[in-house]
């Protein structure tokens, strides 16, 4: 009995592993070091920093076959930061191994002091609006303080990391906290053992049908009179994430997005 349960648990585990394993085995092969990934028109970075960031971005690129783009602009015309981002994607046709492929873009609008994060291609889903919001809120303090290199490094690292997480989860989710996992496990263990102990003395195995004389028992008379109807209504809250939330470029490319000032 006991061995049977344990083996069942092991089989379940092996099946779960089997489902998961193929996901992350795609090996990084191509390197896109020659590709231009950083468009520092506002000159926020030294050539040295630019070199380092570019190297970092191209190192991470193969893992999710995604380009990590940094675009800074003084934006003298005062254009909208989201439009700038969309137009850049339309114009440059980013994408790791194909035009208009997977790309994550960080746009700095130094005129309005606004930042926009966008995910194109598969990144639209693997980095949805709420994940981009999280990344943006984590880098905003550095942006505000002028630590651009640190902020951009974090942006590339976090974007790459968050793309690993499925079903909209982020590392901040309780599911990934050891204490929470432990708590759930203890609760499951406690409930099951409690049920086992409670059942050890035998359980009642009769119910109402055991003694009911079904030949005569039943509903003799009934009525269901409708009296009135009440209706309540409430306005559906539009789920508005703080920093915007993606859209579609004039070139027809939809994307996820997060917008904010710094």
């Amino acid at each position: 009995m006991r061995i049977y349960r344990i083996s069942l648990a092991v089989i379940t585990l092996v099946m779960l592993l089997g489902l998961v394993l193929p996901a992350d085995t795609t090996a990084a092969t191509t390197s896109g070091s020659s590709k231009k990934l950083i468009y520092d028109q506002a000159d926020l970075l030294t050539p040295q920093e630019e070199q380092t960031l570019s190297q970092l971005a191209s190192n991470y690129a193969p893992q999710h076959q995604t380009d990590f783009i940094i675009y800074t602009s003084n934006n003298p015309e005062g254009r909208d930061v989201q439009l700038m981002t969309e137009d850049l994607y339309d114009r440059k046709a980013f994408g790791y191994n194909q035009p208009y492929g997977n790309a994550v873009i960080l746009t700095m609008d130094m005129y309005n002091r606004e930042v926009y994060l966008a995910g194109f291609g598969t990144a639209e889903h693997t980095l949805n609006n709420s994940k981009l919001d999280k990344i943006r809120s984590k880098i905003t303090p550095d942006l505000a303080a002028g630590n651009y290199e640190a902020a951009f490094t974090k942006y590339i690292q976090l974007s790459n990391e968050y793309m690993n997480y499925k079903l909209g989860t982020t590392p901040d989710n309780l599911l990934f906290k050891l204490w929470f996992q432990f708590l759930i496990a203890v609760v499951i263990g406690g409930i099951i053992v409690w049920i086992m102990a409670a059942r050890s003395g035998g359980v009642v195995t009769v119910d109402r049908s055991t003694y009911e004389d079904s030949n005569v028992s039943g509903v003799l008379d009934s009525y269901d009179n409708y009296t009135h109807t009440t209706v309540t209504k409430h306005k559906i809250e539009k789920s508005s994430s703080s920093g915007g939330g993606g859209g579609t470029s004039s070139g027809g490319h939809s994307h996820s997005g997060s917008r904010g000032s710094f």
Partner: protein
Amino acid sequence: MPVIDYKCPNCGSSMMFDSATGALSCPSCGRQDNIEQLPDPLKKQVFTENEVQQYHCPSCGADIMTEPETSATTCSFCGSAVVLGDRLIGDLAPDLVIPFSISKAQAEEAFRKWCRNGLLTPAGFMSADRIKSITGIYVPFWLYELHNMVEVYANATRVRSYTQGDYQYTETRHFDVYRKLRLDYVNLPLDASEKMNDELMDKLEPFPYEQLKEFKTPYLAGYIAEKYNYDDEQLVPRAKEKTQSYIDSSVSQSLSGYSSVSYRDKQVNTTVRRTDYALLPVWIVNYDFGQKNYMFAMNGQTGKVVGKPPLSKGKITAWFAGITAVSLLGMKVLAWALGGDFL
């Protein structure tokens, strides 16, 4: 002479009820008498219903030591099966009996098997080598036939939700509902013995009623039988309490389909149509473990065992730790599947 015994007409030995054949059988010469065709000696004798102080074994003449509620036992000196006739007549005459179908040896084997399957019981208990006694007892039960007329008035609602434009609408339709139910319960058993734990006896159910037989004293030969401590009037409140949950569940089933039901009025009119005094077969197992006595009861027909076994702290801890570890591993795998780190 209020004491009845069953002498084999062939050899004169004391005959016993045989759970395998359902006949009164002689252990010496193998004679088998069909009980249903046997004249019951109880019917032939005339007793005065006075409280007899002392009973004597008809075989050896020794005093029979009994408790006041015992109506059948075996002589502690010669082992003859004896039935105390004056405790089975008049108001105390049982109507029905379900004979044992599980013998003492089978009961012991079934109990051992049950012990081995205990997941949380200590290892020393599982070996089941400390059985102090296994006693076959005919426990007195009242079998009730209860007729219930149930009338329920309630306010019920059906809720529907839909979206239109920017608004979420919740539409609640209100109904005035009425239900009249007839709920008859037959052969609802309630143990009438003071000694027996009610909860334990409730868990022993169900008893196979197709085995119900007209009462005859030879069924008791070789077993202990008790007479009731509570009469059928005294147990009516417990009978109603027992059917309460059955009635509630029938009523709520008749009102299924509503999102919410709040009762305005609920009337249950119960009539006790009939009560039968029945003796039902129970094996009582006394078990010594760790200087404590544990009592278990087994349904003498189905072999179902009930009773609180000792629980091993070590095993509880081990199971808890094991299940917790497997759950934690499961959580880890889930976290990993969602893209997190495994450790």
